[in-house]
């Protein structure tokens, strides 16, 4: 075996100590700037943290690609869904007149909006690409109200860091950080390709987050909660996705 001199041992030891303390400092800096995702624990936690932190640094103001009308997928793709609940069918029978979006949590004025009210807010339309984890994808024109507008209407408190959103299906919920929630392309969609949002695509209301994978664009939204920590929701991992083995942050 080769001889290891004392000098090399000392230098090696110093380098190792410096490396380990640099990691500690980096971790604290990441925590301070909100670069640590809720699913940072466990076997995949380190990978998820590195992905989230690096993408958050790269993509703070980036915009997802918007396409021309001729590139809209025809026919629009609606994937298979679990059977709809009785509650949903009742609302559907009433033409969704009684559908409500309640907003609570760290907001100044908790509120409950009907579809009619949401449609009276300034609307935005964008032609973006929805890509599923499973591999399929399609392009459609989505029409809706920017989430930032809804959040402004209820008055988000300054210590809020996440917006959790819930589907009418109690097991289906997700969350995004404030950077994504306030992003101009994040919105609650009620229209698609010039018509009402079809039930198969999440009608009457779905979240649209074009810079992340499709599973963050949850369908049938009924409830938003603004919060500063995802620890109190489900298993505290940020969404039901990490509980199923997927990532909370899905920009991949």
């Amino acid at each position: 075996m080769t001889d290891i001199s004392r000098r090399k041992l000392i230098i090696g030891g110093l380098a190792a100590t410096a490396g380990i303390s640099a990691l500690g400092v980096a971790a604290r800096i990441a925590q301070k700037y909100g670069l640590v995702p809720p699913d940072h624990g466990g076997i995949y936690g380190l990978g998820e943290t590195l992905t989230y932190a690096s993408q958050r640094l790269l993509t703070r103001h980036s915009l997802a690609r918007e396409f021309s009308r001729s590139q809209i997928s025809n026919p629009p793709f609606a994937n298979e869904m679990a059977p709809l609940s009785e509650g949903y069918k009742r609302l559907q029978a009433g033409g969704f007149a009684d559908w409500r979006l309640t907003v609570d949590g760290m907001v100044a004025r908790p509120a409950s909006f009907s579809l009619h009210q949401l449609k009276s807010f300034p609307s935005r339309s964008q032609i973006t690409h929805l890509a599923c984890e499973e591999g399929w994808s399609y392009i459609a024109e989505w029409i809706g109200v920017p989430l930032s507008h809804v959040l402004d209407a209820v008055g988000v408190q300054p210590q809020a860091r996440y917006v959790a959103y819930f589907s009418i299906d109690p097991d289906w919920w997700d969350s995004v950080d404030m950077a994504d929630a306030l992003h101009p392309q994040t919105f609650l969609a009620y229209g698609m390709n010039g018509n009402e949002l079809p039930v198969g695509n999440g009608g009457p209301l779905r979240m649209r987050i074009p810079r992340q994978l499709g599973y963050k664009s949850v369908k049938f939204i009924t409830h938003l909660t603004v919060t500063d920590s995802m620890k109190g929701f489900g298993k505290g991992l940020g969404s039901m996705e990490p509980e199923g083995g997927y990532a909370w942050y899905a920009g991949i």
Binding site: Q55, L58, T59, S62, L63, A64, R65, H129, A131, G135, S137, P210, R211, Q212, L213, Y249, A250, G251, I252
Partner: protein
């Protein structure tokens, strides 16, 4: 000769391609650098290429490990880790 060509191809073509097409499937990364995916004509094209390249890499891996087993696994692993070629085997150029 074939070995050298295939190694060069794997290191300088297949690996960069598989990483590039992989990034092209990330909505987050692509929002910051759209050219990553537009050069392939879209996310679905990038995905197809990614799968073919991944298949090629798996085939390469099988052939690579197979060759090593045929040529002497232990001595090659020892040489790769310690950097010392074993005197009793002929050096391969």
């Amino acid at each position: 000769m074939l070995q050298r060509l295939s190694y060069l191809f794997v290191i300088f073509v297949l690996f960069p391609l598989v990483i590039w097409t992989g990034l092209a499937m990330s909505p987050g990364f692509v929002s910051a650098f759209p050219a990553t995916v537009t050069v392939f004509g879209g996310q679905q094209s990038a995905r197809t290429i990614h799968f073919f390249v991944a298949l090629a890499l798996v085939l390469f891996l099988l052939v690579h490990v197979g060759m090593i087993c045929v040529a002497g696994f232990r001595s090659r692993m020892r040489a790769m880790i310690t950097g010392r070629a074993d005197g009793t085997h002929t050096e391969r150029t």
